[in-house]
């Protein structure tokens, strides 16, 4: 937990300098604002004294000067404040973004990606609004209040006491409102995350929702989240709605009671001179007391935006305070041989009760192709994810090119690997952007080459070339096309190690075969770890690892395994058509 003012952490020199300028401008503005009424009084004096228009004009000129200066000061203050708040917001977003870029899955999962999105946009907006509305008042209000209080510090004890009481009442009121509303505001952003999650699911699942005629079901779910958000906001705002009226009430009652008690004080004084003096003192006191309380009130109004901004800031700091578990080492090269070796590797997903992988041992030697086969959920994908360090193994060591993966700089390690995930990821943008992802130095020739290897060159050519745009999640191409673009992405970087996580599943067999044939030619000399469900694919590998429930139960060639591994033979049987084709 931190103070709401810790947003200044995101200030750089420029913002600090501008803040100083802003303070100066605001002080100037306050001075002008206090000056203008005295010109008004002067003009009124001249008018009441029966002065000429020329005399009035003379005074008016000076006041106009002040008014113009005040206008200019006002505009520059809003420009400065706008600059500071929008730059601070930009920096917050940037720091968050940079930090999240360093996250691996366990950190992302800790906060959830829906919440990360709100925390990078909506929460930052809350801070920006807070700086925008609060900065000016925060400087102006105390200055005005102090100035006004100084003017009346010599006043009658009764009035001073009344003023003190009023200030105390305001503070108690604001404190109570804050105490009551803060826990509710804390939940607002949580409910916003909820809306985010439901909306995102609905956008993804329209086909299934329609196929199930589940519109009513989804509507209920959505309105549940919606209702929760609205109800919470209403309750928070209800509490906050006490603030302004009752602070105003306190201020008004104070100024009224000064006159009211003034009447008694003056009436109780026998000296005419004293009475006159007291009267003017009363008028002055009332004016300045109101001004002081106005200052306080403005300050208090900040407390309306305060709780929400505070919560948002805490949420942002929570993201920034998560230390990425997977950090850079120093090694950049390795021995360049393209080997992978797992030594007694066990792995457990964060927060899970059981090991997903247990005591895994295997090697992929230079230029070798090793296939991994096994039942759904047996840990194949987890195994693949350990190599580019999406997670770190819980025990044991994984070496790439003879060096522990934890000793590499992440970019160097991942630069060695062409990783193709099970679920093809397509980003909105051109084919060029998708295939050349992560680098802008690929030539068109290289990209075309990769597309050709992935057997999708013809399609892209037909559709209009590298600059055709694919929509988010590749919703405008077929499943098999997505997988091939995703494969081309790995091929394009020409890595020494390929990790294919069952990424041929949506390809028909002849395309699958063709892609793998071209890959084999292209990846000559590279090492390949190939996760697959298809025996036909696995058997082309140099070695096959058979996995079951997080363990490697056997490894060998197709023929060896057929002979001795019952799980493998069962898998093979399940794919044998009975036609006796092998």
């Amino acid at each position: 937990m931190s103070s709401v003012f810790s947003f200044v952490r995101f200030f750089r020199r420029k913002e600090w300098i501008l803040s100083a300028v802003t303070v100066g401008m605001i002080l100037f503005q306050v001075w002008l604002d206090l000056e203008i009424p005295s010109y008004m009084a002067d003009i009124t004096d001249v008018v009441t004294a029966g002065g000429t228009a020329a005399e009035v004009a003379e005074k008016a000129a000076a006041m106009t000067g002040c008014a113009v200066a005040s206008l200019l000061a006002g505009i520059s203050v809003s420009a400065l404040v706008g600059w500071i708040s929008s730059s601070a917001a930009k920096r917050i977003r940037e720091e968050e973004f940079d930090h999240i870029q360093k996250f691996s899955f366990s950190e992302v999962d800790r906060i959830s990606s829906y919440s990360l999105i709100t925390r990078s946009t909506n929460d930052v907006k809350q801070i920006q609004d807070f700086i925008g509305t609060a900065l000016e008042s925060m400087i102006k209000a105390p200055v005005v209040s102090v100035w006004a209080v100084l003017r009346i510090s010599q006043g009658d004890m009764t009035w001073t006491a009344a003023t003190m009481t009023a200030v105390a009442a305001m503070m108690i009121l604001v404190y109570c409102v804050m105490k009551l509303s803060a826990p509710l505001y804390k939940k607002v952003q949580y409910f916003n995350d909820g809306i985010n999650a439901v909306t995102s699911e609905m956008l993804d699942g329209q086909r299934m929702i329609r196929a199930h005629n589940a519109q009513e079901y989804e509507k209920r779910k959505f309105s549940g989240a919606n209702e929760a958000l609205a109800e919470n906001n209403i309750r928070a705002n209800h509490i906050a709605s006490v603030n302004v009226p009752f602070n105003g009430f306190i201020r008004n009652v104070l100024s009224m009671s000064i006159y009211w008690t003034g009447a008694f004080i003056i009436a109780g004084n026998s000296s005419e001179e004293m009475r006159l003096e007291l009267f003017s003192e009363m008028i002055v006191f009332a004016t300045y007391a109101t001004m002081a309380l106005n200052g306080f009130r403005t300050l208090m109004q900040i407390f309306n935006v305060f709780p929400r901004a505070k919560v948002s800031l805490d949420r942002i700091f929570e993201v920034l305070s998560i230390e990425p578990q997977i950090t850079d080492g120093t090694e950049t090269e390795g021995n360049g041989s393209g080997t992978i070796s797992f030594r007694n590797v066990s792995f457990r997903f964060p927060g899970s009760g059981a090991d997903t992988l247990e005591n895994i041992n295997f090697d992929v030697k230079h230029g070798e192709t090793v296939a991994v086969i096994g039942a759904t959920g047996c840990g194949k994908t987890a195994l693949a994810m350990l190599i580019p360090r999406f997670y770190d193994c819980t025990s044991g060591t994984i070496e790439v090119d003879g060096v522990d993966v934890r000793n590499y700089k992440l970019d160097s390690l991942r630069g060695k690997i062409g990783y193709v995930p099970q679920k093809a990821v397509i980003l909105s943008g051109t084919v060029r952007h998708n295939v050349g992802y992560g680098s802008d130095s690929y030539t068109d020739g290289e990209i075309w080459d990769a597309l050709d290897t992935a057997c999708i060159k013809d399609f892209i050519e037909l559709e209009g070339g590298l600059d055709i745009s694919l929509s988010e999640e590749g919703r405008n191409i077929s499943g098999g096309q997505k997988q091939r673009v995703s494969i081309a992405r790995a091929v394009c970087r020409n890595p020494e190690i390929y990790v294919f996580d069952d990424c041929f599943s949506a390809l028909d067999f002849s395309t699958d075969r063709e892609v793998r044939k071209r890959l084999a030619a292209k990846t000559e000399g590279a090492s390949v770890l190939l996760i697959t469900q298809r025996i036909g694919t696995a058997r082309t590998a140099d070695r096959i690892l058979v996995m079951d429930r997080g363990r490697i139960v056997d490894q060998g060639t197709h023929a060896e395994l057929l002979g001795r591994c019952s799980i493998y033979s069962e898998i093979a049987d399940s794919q044998d058509t009975g036609g006796g084709s092998w």
């Binding site: 006002g74 898998i571 399940s574």
Partner: protein
């Protein structure tokens, strides 16, 4: 097949401000008013409270001056009518109390109203989703739509809450003050009002010219949302491809535009009050000058001028209120505009009553069906085939041949271009979409799970009990997993965690098993499931498909072999049709596809052939 559809919003220009045809936000504010109309009584009551509050604000100072008058009357005599002072004091206290209560009430009610409006807007957007064609979802920028649900609705709500009442309060006060001035002296009122209205005129120009900044602000926020949400959902690839440097570059440009538009809207928000205060001061000066001239001419008394000076001071209050709330109101307009754009996106043809088929036997016919995702494009060409009730139809072909498109049309996710699709002789175009979809249970290529328990995900909207759910789990081979989970069916499924790709597919199939619809569609339902589990699932599906017409898209020919009819699709047309054995006899596409899977010698690459020589059992 790549359908390129422009986004709902237009393009962006430099410095975060979009180039846009000038467009009035009036319609958006009108929309907000329409939403407020749903709560007419509450809205009118809170506006009435604003009126009460305004009246009291105007009158209370009069009584204060009564007190000062009483005091100053008694200054020399030393005799002050204290009873009267107390009397006025009580009146003032009463006025303030009522004023405060009125203000509290309107604040309280505006808190309700603003949230109700936002909630209804979100609900309407959610319902709108049901009326949008699938094409919208296949082309939209997800995060941008999400931003409309959160950021834009939020902006509307908080602006209404903070500024609506203040704005109206300011207007009412302005009118009251103007009336009081007019009653006092017309010439001076005119002088005062001309200055003030000049200020307001200038402000309205400012408002008009700055709308685009607020609009850009909301839009850039949506863009940022879209960018980030896509990136975070593709985190594996961003990590694997060390894309942070390039992502940062793109992020920086969006971030800078967001900053620039935020800066501009922030300035304009502060600009208006400064301008209005200036004109208020000018009005004051003008009244003083003209007033003193008139006093010299003898047309008015000094008293009148002094009274006016007070009015002008009072005038400044509402001007400040109006001008400082304008910024928020503009922001609300910009937010509402994006919501309105979403709500007015082109919808599907309205659902009609439609023909129902009584008890469906399940004969399906495609007659000369043509379809393209884009104008002038043909993804399916003249597709014709017919299916008898209870038959199992397998659709095979290369990726991108148009297999999924057939499902899209059969389910009316997309509407056919020409030709006809009938079920039991009734054109599906004549059925309601709802009815048509109720005829199928379906498993799609992309498994869709949502944040909820495993039980909710499997049962989805059926009323299946735990026994049935567990039975479905057993049928798809999930029983062991469910048993091993500490929370069993109550295990919460969150985005991206825990389940493997194959398990997700198993869950989706279990979901379909609970669906009792008369026909079945399986689009690559088991592509990530291991083949032993697949055999199990296949048996379950076969039991499910018994007597039901079923469509199966699969690359694994083992799933396809026992189909009653196999359609071989290539480039959007049926190139071969028949049973497994009849197709295998012919030298055609099917045999080629079949061989690629089951004739391993052909699938060897040069590299592997060498390695595997001798290792294949005879």
């Amino acid at each position: 097949m790549v359908n390129r559809v422009p986004n709902i919003d237009g393009g962006y220009s430099r410095k975060g401000v979009l180039k846009d045809k000038p467009r009035s936000m009036l319609k958006s504010w009108k929309m907000i008013l329409l939403y407020l109309k749903n709560h007419k009584a509450v809205f009118l009551f809170s506006m009435f409270m604003v009126g009460v509050e305004s009246l009291l604000t105007v009158f209370a100072p009069n009584y204060i001056s009564e007190i000062t008058d009483l005091i100053s009357d008694g200054l020399y005599s030393g005799v002050i009518d204290l009873e009267k002072v107390s009397y006025y004091g009580l009146i003032i206290l009463g006025l303030y109390l009522f004023g405060t209560i009125a203000m509290f009430l309107r604040n309280y009610l505006m808190a309700d109203l603003s949230q109700h409006v936002a909630r209804e807007m979100r609900n309407d957007m959610q319902e709108k989703m049901d009326r949008l064609p699938l094409k919208f979802f296949d082309t939209c920028r997800k995060g941008d739509v999400m931003s409309r649900f959160t950021n834009d609705a939020d902006t509307v709500a908080s602006a209404l809450n903070r500024s609506m009442a203040v704005f109206v309060h300011g207007i009412v006060l302005l009118v009251l003050c103007s009336a009081m001035m007019l009653l006092t002296d017309v010439t001076l009122s005119a002088v005062c009002m001309i200055t003030v209205f000049a200020g307001m005129g200038l402000s309205s120009i400012v408002v008009k010219r700055t709308q685009k900044y607020y609009r850009s602000q909301q839009r850039n926020l949506g863009r940022m949302y879209g960018f980030i949400s896509e990136l975070y959902s593709a985190h594996d690839i961003a990590m694997a491809y060390s894309a942070s440097r390039l992502n940062k570059k793109e992020f920086d440009s969006v971030n800078e535009e967001l900053r620039a538009s935020g800066f501009r809207s922030e300035i304009t928000m502060g600009l208006l009050p400064a301008v209005m205060r200036f004109f208020g001061n000018l009005g004051y000066i003008a009244v003083c000058i003209v007033g003193s001239v008139m006093v010299l001419e003898g047309s008015i008394t000094i008293g009148t001028v002094v009274a006016f000076i007070f009015f002008v001071k009072i005038y400044m209050g509402p001007l400040d209120m109006i001008s400082s709330s304008l910024g928020n109101i503009q922001a609300a307009g910009a937010g509402a505009e994006r919501i309105r754009d979403f709500l007015s996106a082109e919808e599907m043809d309205p659902e009609k009553e439609g023909v129902t088929a009584g008890s469906v036997r399940g004969s399906v016919e495609f007659r000369n069906v043509c379809f393209g995702y884009l104008e002038g494009e043909e993804t399916l060409k003249n597709l014709t085939f017919s299916v008898k009730p209870g038959q199992k139809i397998a659709i095979v072909g290369h990726t991108g041949a148009g297999k999924t498109t057939i499902v899209n049309l059969l389910m009316r996710f997309y509407e056919i271009g020409s030709g006809e699709i009938t079920i039991d002789g009734i054109s599906i175009g004549d059925m309601s979409r709802r009815y048509l979809r109720s005829l199928f249970c379906i498993v799609l290529q992309d498994s869709w799970l949502f944040d909820g328990t495993l039980r909710e995900n499997i049962a989805y909207c059926s009323d299946a009990g735990d026994a049935e759910i567990l039975e479905a789990c057993r049928s798809v081979g999930l029983d062991r997993l469910v048993e091993s989970l500490p929370d069993g069916l109550d295990t919460r499924i969150r985005s991206g965690t825990g389940f493997s790709g194959g398990q997700k597919q198993q869950i989706c199939i279990a979901r379909a098993l609970l669906d009792k619809s008369p026909m079945l569609i399986l689009d690559e339902a088991t592509s990530s499931v291991d083949t032993r589990t697949e055999v199990l699932i296949q048996n379950a599906i076969d039991r499910l498909a018994a007597g039901r017409t079923s469509f199966v898209i699969a690359h694994r020919l083992s799933t396809v072999r026992n189909a009653d009819l196999i359609l071989v699709i290539r480039d959007g047309s049926v190139v071969q049709m028949g049973t497994h054995s009849s197709l295998l006899e012919k030298d055609g596409e099917y045999r080629r596809i079949y061989r690629s899977q089951f004739d391993p010698l052909r699938s060897f690459t040069v590299k592997y052939q060498v390695l595997l020589t001798g290792s294949v059992p005879a």
